[in-house]
């Protein structure tokens, strides 16, 4: 028998195809139960049965509405999280991880740890960056971190500096250990590898990238203001290869497929609540604007033990 869900992961549709999948799922559920469609609903059960399974819940709320009324968004997230009894962690996807003080308001209302996924995202980006530098034959960089002001970019820049890599950042908030540049275009000049760590993209002129550069991107929409120039390679920074034994149902597969990473990968931010729930920790890995290195060490150890790897990005 499948174990009961140990965590929930809250998402909202970002693109029309996701809205369609979520809408159809809602419609099928409400018809089966003879009720009106809810403002949130179950997309599917995902995870590793040997460690923890989680319910992916979709909020029927547009990104614009979430930004315009964060309080209403947090109210909806709270209702959704409370709809699954017995959980040990709540994970947040996309804008759910931003509104309400980057998870803090929701955490105040719930008795289980709420985690934004930012730490696992940083973990994935750092692992991918190391693999990319090796593949490019440029172990010392330079690497530009665009979106270095955010918690993910700041941590990735710090970790790469510690690896002995020459790092350039586009914002003084990411400056504690790296070279500060006037902006993204200046930071990426001549860099074979660029990390797009911002929350929202559209900040980098594609022409500013060096010929043949690799961009590992987690921004949504993407870091580039337009289409990449020929020879530039854009890699999804948050994609992790699925470990053996990964479970997901039909609707989870459908939603995942339109999320952009294809059937063999999973978002790092979804892995974070899974690891948290399986670990029994009562402290989230990421909440608010600060990420802690000791949490990264703990996450790295547990995630690897479950079969996750951050060094095999989609080529």
């Amino acid at each position: 028998m499948r174990p009961a869900p140990a965590f929930v992961f809250l998402v909202h549709p970002l693109v029309p195809a996701q809205r369609v999948v979520l809408g159809l799922r809602q419609l099928s559920l409400s018809r089966a139960r003879g009720r009106r469609p809810e403002t949130f609903g179950r997309i599917g059960t995902v995870g590793l049965p040997a460690h923890a399974l989680g319910e992916v819940l979709g909020l029927m709320m547009e990104p614009e509405a979430m930004l315009a009324d964060p309080q209403a968004a947090v109210d909806l997230m709270e209702r959704a999280a409370r709809s699954v009894p017995g959980i040990r962690a709540v994970g947040l996807g996309s804008l759910c991880a931003l509104v309400g003080g980057r998870g803090e308001e929701l955490a105040r209302r719930l008795s289980v740890p709420v985690t934004t996924g930012a730490l696992a995202t940083a973990w994935a980006l750092h692992g991918h960056a190391r693999a990319a530098l090796k593949a490019l034959g440029r172990p010392r960089g330079p690497v530009a971190v665009v979106g270095s002001a955010g918690p993910v970019g700041e941590l990735v820049a710090r970790l790469l500096v510690r690896d002995g890599v020459e790092v350039r950042v586009d914002n003084r908030r990411g400056s504690r250990a790296a070279r500060v540049c006037a902006g993204p275009d200046e930071a990426v000049e001549g860099c074979p590898l660029v990390i797009g760590a911002g929350t929202s993209g559209g900040v980098l002129d594609p022409a500013a990238l060096a010929r043949g550069a690799w961009l590992i991107d987690v921004a949504s929409p993407g870091t580039l203001k337009g289409e990449p120039e020929r020879g530039v390679r854009v890699l999804p920074g948050e994609a992790l290869p699925l470990p053996a034994g990964w479970h997901r149902g039909l609707w989870g597969r459908a939603f995942h497929r339109v999320a952009g990473y294809g059937p063999r990968h999973v978002y790092a931010c979804l892995v974070e609540p899974l690891v948290l729930a399986a670990s029994g920790r009562d402290r989230p890995y990421a909440l608010g604007s600060r990420l802690r290195e000791e949490d990264l060490v703990d996450f790295d150890r547990r995630a690897r033990a479950m079969g996750f790897s951050a060094s095999g990005f989609i080529g």
Binding site: A68, L98, G100, G101, R102, A149, R173, S200, G288, S289
Partner: protein, 155 residues
């Protein structure tokens, strides 16, 4: 009930010397938490974008924390709305460039911004780059005052 206008705005803090310590502490902590900074890195005169490194979505987080700390609702685009009201029927901008009247209006609303930065040729889209932490301090103190008086501001 009196409608807030530029003429009847309560006194605004032009520098750190003018602030109410309890309110300032809340503002400073909201910025520090939202931007992952130490509280002592947040100064009244710090430029929010240029010096503290805030990006567009950070403003959402800052606004949320300030709303919670002061139990107020911050209208989106409120500073620009106030500045536009201050120009009356005259034009606020021409081809995106602020008029003299708009600059005067902004100077009245944002005394914490040195007048020299509100110079002819300034574009409307550049105004957020002038925002200081003090700009938000003055805004939330004003909104909290209005709320205490029972004034309902447009959302």
């Amino acid at each position: 009930m009196e409608t807030p206008t530029l003429e009847n705005l309560p006194p605004r803090a032009a520098s750190a010397a003018d602030v109410d310590p309890a309110a300032w502490e809340k503002v400073r902590d909201a910025f520090a938490e939202a931007l992952g900074l130490e509280p002592d890195e947040v100064l009244f005169e710090s430029k929010v974008i240029g010096e503290l490194g805030a990006e567009s979505l950070d403003f959402l987080d800052i606004a949320f924390r300030l709303e919670r700390a002061f139990d107020i609702r911050i209208p989106r685009g409120g500073i620009e709305q106030s500045a536009r009201q201050g120009t009356g029927d005259e034009r606020y901008e021409v081809d995106g460039v602020l008029t003299e009247l708009a600059l005067d209006s902004l100077a009245a609303i944002m005394p914490e911004v040195p007048r020299a930065e509100l110079c002819p040729g300034l574009k409307a889209v550049q105004v957020p780059e002038l925002f200081r932490v003090g700009t938000f301090y003055n805004l939330v103190v004003f909104l909290a005052d209005q709320k205490a008086r029972g004034v309902v501001l447009p959302a």
